[in-house]
């Protein structure tokens, strides 16, 4: 009944001062995102030392505008990886959906908002189709989405037709990603502060409220110190981001969308039944099935959501570049998307990770790319360093998984 009380491992975990306990945690490598945050800071320091423009408000604001599309697509990749699946079509889908939007708007004169919706629905339909194929015929998602990777590029070229490039002029579409709140919106700076403060208040209130509820229910609750520390970290991040961007042109609208996507999908995955079921299917699909979870529905829905996010990311990218062309969504986009999700700490084996890894990973990938551009380094070097960082990040993940498993026995 209480054999574990005699287990020396547990005793050592309970006893000791905070430092020893922290060290215990460190040895068991339950560090969460700390290693990658640390890695990001190192990357920033290195670039700052080689070029003192790197950490300037101008460049950091650019960085945010650059990573928003990548990060949005990576949120979808995180969802798919949580299932233990992979989506190789994310890049092509983003390009195709942006092309659908652009062609509808420019060639057929359909209003911007409707064209954007059409692009998003194209993504949703593709995702549901691929998810259906994976679940119905039990073909590995790797193969189905590999077929998608090739096929949707073909569709992109077909949709673009002979011209090959469609330039965007619609105010709504261009404004999606190319608006800076301070420069382009009246009172934009004020609004960004209001929304930021509102976000902090809601965030802090939800945690304090939860603590009160747990206290009233007689459950273990967090210490005030730990709670204040967590809230302080969020305050510093939000205020820091707003101070930096408002010292330049203001918060880029693409980043606003990206943050909204993160908050919405964090809620969906962490706080709803659907999210719980996504983790359950990724952890043990057979157990989920026996617990009467509708596993095919969860799979198909996640594929649908992921491709919709890919479409949204593609639309943001098109809006920022003011055009859709034959290489939209191609090149290294897919690789960077999956790398972002994995570098941020999402497991390739399903069931572990959060949508915030898309933000962390996109910041790492984006910072490397941005910093090397500032140094005018050629892309061979860029690719090699990005590859190296990916390898280091997955190695940290793999080692921590092994330790977690051996600590479990």
């Amino acid at each position: 009944m209480s054999t574990m009380v005699n287990d020396p491992r547990l005793e050592s975990e309970r006893s000791g001062n905070p430092l020893q306990r922290w060290f215990q945690r460190f040895r068991q490598s339950d560090l969460g995102p700390l290693p990658i945050v640390f890695g990001l800071l190192i990357i920033w320091l290195i670039f700052q030392r080689t070029n003192d423009k790197f950490l300037s408000p101008l460049n950091l604001t650019n960085l945010m505008a650059q990573i928003a599309a990548l990060g949005t697509i990576a949120v979808g990749a995180v969802l798919i990886l949580l299932l233990g699946e992979v989506d190789l079509s994310a890049g092509s889908v983003s390009g195709l959906c942006a092309a659908v939007m652009a062609v509808l708007n420019v060639k057929y004169g359909i209003p911007g908002p409707i064209a954007v919706l059409a692009g998003l629905f194209t993504g949703l339909a593709i995702g549901l189709f691929q998810g259906f194929w994976v679940t119905r015929f039990k073909i590995p998602s790797f193969i189905v989405t590999l077929a998608g990777l090739i096929g949707w590029v073909g569709a992109l070229l077909y949709v673009l037709g002979e011209t090959g490039t469609v330039n965007l002029r619609d105010k709504f579409i261009v404004g999606l990603a190319s608006t800076f709140l301070k420069r382009d919106v009246p009172n934009g700076e004020l609004y960004s502060w209001l929304v930021g403060i509102l976000f902090i208040i809601i965030y802090a209130a939800s945690f304090i409220w939860e603590r009160q509820r747990r206290k009233r229910a007689g459950l273990q609750f967090r210490s005030i110190g730990g709670l204040l520390f967590q809230i302080a970290v969020v305050v510093i991040l939000v205020v820091g981001m707003l101070l930096i961007t408002n010292a330049d042109r203001g918060l880029p609208s693409a980043m606003v969308f990206f943050i909204a996507v993160l908050v919405i999908f964090d809620f969906l995955t962490q706080r709803t039944i659907f999210g719980r079921h996504v983790y359950a299917v990724g952890g043990n699909a057979e157990a989920a099935r026996r617990a009467s979870i509708n596993v095919p529905f969860v799979r198909i829905a996640v594929f649908g959501l992921a491709s919709t996010l890919a479409a949204f990311g593609g639309i943001l990218a098109a809006s920022r570049l003011l055009a859709v062309n034959q290489s939209s969504g191609g090149s290294d986009l897919l690789l960077n998307v999956i790398a972002s999700a994995v570098i941020g700490g999402t497991s390739l084996f399903g069931g572990r990770g959060t949508v915030w890894s898309a933000l962390l990973g996109a910041l790492v990938i984006g910072s490397i790319s941005n910093g090397m551009d500032l140094l005018a380094l050629p892309s061979p070097i860029k690719f090699m360093i990005t590859g190296g960082v990916l390898l280091v990040a997955v190695t940290i993940e793999a080692i921590s998984r092994q330790r977690r498993e051996s600590a479990g026995r």
Partner: protein, 267 residues
């Protein structure tokens, strides 16, 4: 336990048969389980233990024979029928999600919400109560399953099976993969289930475990009944003989009380 012979069994199988192609997996098997009793289902490999519990759990509906539950004739066609009756089965693979914590696993597929968001506080509170009632000790209900020991995982799986108004719990080899201390932990939990008035069916190869925790032993041999024994007054040798069929033909001399009950409740 002794008075159980006068009560209606919570589960009674009468002449259950099951055939897979050319293989007669079960022929005319009788079986009963009472509330507040642990009954061991024992037999050699291929004796039909798994087939029998799958008939009860609704995975392979029986071809022939009757299943009575709480004095009512029932037809169990699929796992949901079994669950609706209050029959839960814990298979050897436990069906836990290693990446989720104890609370999430206990509530898997039955999550509670307060409007849209998950109601973690209520779920955690009830989980703690359930585990405390069953005297299951776990470092924290917010630990993920991957960092629990084998015995703790088994305990979580059993707790999940009993926390949803279950009346009959079937445990398939609950101690097979466990060390001595952890087996002890799980056997203690099985005793707690009996104390709470549940009927428990334990399938096991480990006669030492069977003798520690079980009240009655029902033996299958080549798909047929081969005796029901009361553990009190029966030796391990007699059980082994019945399992291996060495005593085939005169198995009804196993033990007097068991034979009486057998005569009284099956026809």
């Amino acid at each position: 336990m002794p008075e159980s012979s006068s009560r209606v069994p919570i589960l009674e199988l009468r002449g259950v048969s099951k055939r897979f192609g050319a293989v007669q997996a079960l022929s005319n098997v009788n079986f009963e389980a009472y509330a507040g009793e642990v009954v061991g289902l024992v037999g050699d490999n291929g004796a039909g233990k798994s087939t029998l519990i799958k008939c009860v759990a609704g995975i392979h509906p029986a071809d022939d024979g009757e299943i009575w539950f709480e004095g009512q004739r029932v037809h169990i066609q699929n796992p949901k029928d079994a669950a609706d009756l209050g029959i839960q089965t814990v298979y050897q693979d436990l069906a836990l999600c290693d990446n989720l914590d104890v609370v999430a696993n206990l509530y898997l597929g039955r999550e509670q919400t307060s409007r849209l968001p998950l109601d973690e506080v209520s779920m955690e509170k009830r989980s703690l109560e359930v585990l405390r009632d069953l005297s299951v000790s776990i470092p924290s209900v917010r630990t993920i399953i991957a960092s629990l020991s084998g015995g703790q995982r088994q305990s979580v799986a059993i707790s999940r099976a009993v926390m949803w108004n279950s009346k009959l719990v079937i445990l398939d080899e609950p101690t097979a993969a466990l060390g001595v201390l952890q087996s002890h932990q799980v056997l203690q939990l099985i005793k707690n289930l009996r104390q709470q008035g549940l009927a428990v069916i334990v399938i096991s190869h480990n006669l030492a475990d069977i003798f520690e925790v079980v009240d009655r032993i029902s033996i299958l041999y080549l798909g047929r009944n081969n005796g029901v024994f009361n553990v009190h007054g029966t030796s391990q040798e007699q059980i082994v003989a019945a399992i291996t069929g060495a005593e085939f033909g005169n198995n009804n001399q196993g033990s007097a009380p068991a034979r009486q009950r057998k005569g009284g409740s099956s026809r």
